[in-house]
Structures are given as C-alpha cells and as structure tokens.
Symmetry: C2
Subunit: 142 residues, 2 copies
C-alpha cells in the first residue's frame, strides 16, 4: 500500500467552486475546502480557504479537543477571539486553543486566503529533527 | 491566560530571510520557517517555505511518528516518495505517512511556496463539526 496520497485542487483563486455545506445544517460557505478525508489524514484536518471581499463568518465557534492554527497567505482581515479584535494579513499566523471563542472576516478589497489546521491538543510527541531522520537514499537530482 | 497567540512573519516573498539551521548539524535551508515553538503549538508543527528556482532538498527523510501534509500554494516542483516521482504545483496537496522516504525540489522558473504540517499519526479524535460547536456569541459585524 502506498505511503502517500496526492491531489490537485486547482488554483487558489478558483476555490469559490468548493462549497462547505455539511448535511443537516444551514451552513453554506463558498471557498472552504476540507481535505482530510480525501487524503486519508489521521492526525489533522485542514481547510483551504478563499473568502471574497465582504465575506464574514456568520457565527463564532470553539472546539472540544482540537487546537487550531490559522495561516494567512493573502489579503487582509480581522479575527475576534474571546472578545479581542486584531488585524491579520499575509504572513499572519494565529494559534488558537480549543476553548477560545473565535470568528473572523475579510476586511480588505481583495480576496482573503488562509489555511486552517486542526489537531488534538498536546498530541505532538516530537517534531522536526527529533521525529524525523535523514535517510541514505541518494537524491536523483545529484 | 490568553487562549491564542498571533505573529506576523511578513510577506511570503520575503521568507528568504528565515534560515533553518539547527545547531549541531550541517543543515542550512533558506526560506524555511518553523513556527510551532513561537506560537506554543502542542498538536502540530508547521513550516512555511519559499524555495527559489533551482532549490532542491539535498537529502531524503522520513519520520518516526508524524504524518506530514505538504500544501503547495505557488510555483511548480516535483516530489519523490518511496522512489515514485510526481509533479506538484499550486493547489497540490500531498499526505505522507511517517515511514515514507521523501524529497522534493523546485522545477519551475518561479519561487515554490508550500506549507508542511506534521502531527502524530492516528491522534485525531474528531474534527470539523464533530469537534467544534457554534456558540451564541453575536458577531460584531452584524
């Protein structure tokens, strides 16, 4: 069995075509794609997001077990977490504990792009060189 | 104590300024920024990456415990995993099991941008609406 899976979801500026509309809920969010199930992820869930100008989350949410990281890669917006409001833009990264009450919106005149990763808090045992090892395999590019 | 942390790392096209050079190793990789420690992450580690044209990882690596997800957000490249070679570009997302032997390079004439997330395999208990809940907090944008 293969130890990897790969998918191409297309250019980020065409992510409007992905609509997050979970069954049995009134939620319908264009430009939000969750990829965990399709890629067989067992340690994290990831959404890739494009919010057109004027987009604002219509609700706050929190989590039971999962820490979230918001990685902003384009545009300008603001987040509100536990009543505190702050600006975000390309290069902003925000770590959010499960219990935090959070929402956000695009405040700019361009599309807001961001990636959200969630994973079980305190589950990381080691990372980087403490979990990885360089192998002896020669690289094919010499 | 605050339930979130936020940092701004600047425009992605200026990420050359971040150099991953772990002490006691000969590794020196410009354009790779790990953000887990600074943001207090306990469930995942994340690197944000800009590889200029011609950049190629000089080694293969694998992991002990962590699943990795590679999210390509700009440029063109190729990965080699367990001897299988395939192209990646903006919108490509690749999930990699810990034991897989992996390397990659920029094959394009533009910068290659990607985000790598690692987290402990099989640690996710639930995600999305199964871990999150919408709260009653009214959104300040009406």
């Amino acid at each position: 069995m293969s130890h990897y899976q790969t998918q191409n979801y297309g250019k980020l500026n065409e992510f409007d075509k992905y609509i997050f509309a979970p069954e049995g809920t009134p939620i319908s969010i264009p430009g939000k794609l969750f990829i965990g199930e399709q890629l067989g992820l067992t340690s994290m869930e990831i959404s890739i997001n494009k919010d057109v100008p004027g987009t604002a989350m219509p609700f706050f949410h929190r989590h039971n077990d999962n820490e979230e990281t918001y990685i902003f890669i384009g545009g300008k917006g603001e987040m509100v977490i536990d009543g505190e409001r702050f600006d975000v833009e390309e290069g902003s990264i925000v770590s959010v504990q499960p219990e935090a009450d959070r929402s956000w919106r695009n405040t700019g005149d361009k599309d807001l792009y961001y990636i959200v990763v969630q994973a079980s808090k305190k589950s990381l045992k080691a990372s980087g060189l403490n979990d990885g090892e360089i192998t002896e395999t020669p690289v094919p590019w010499g």
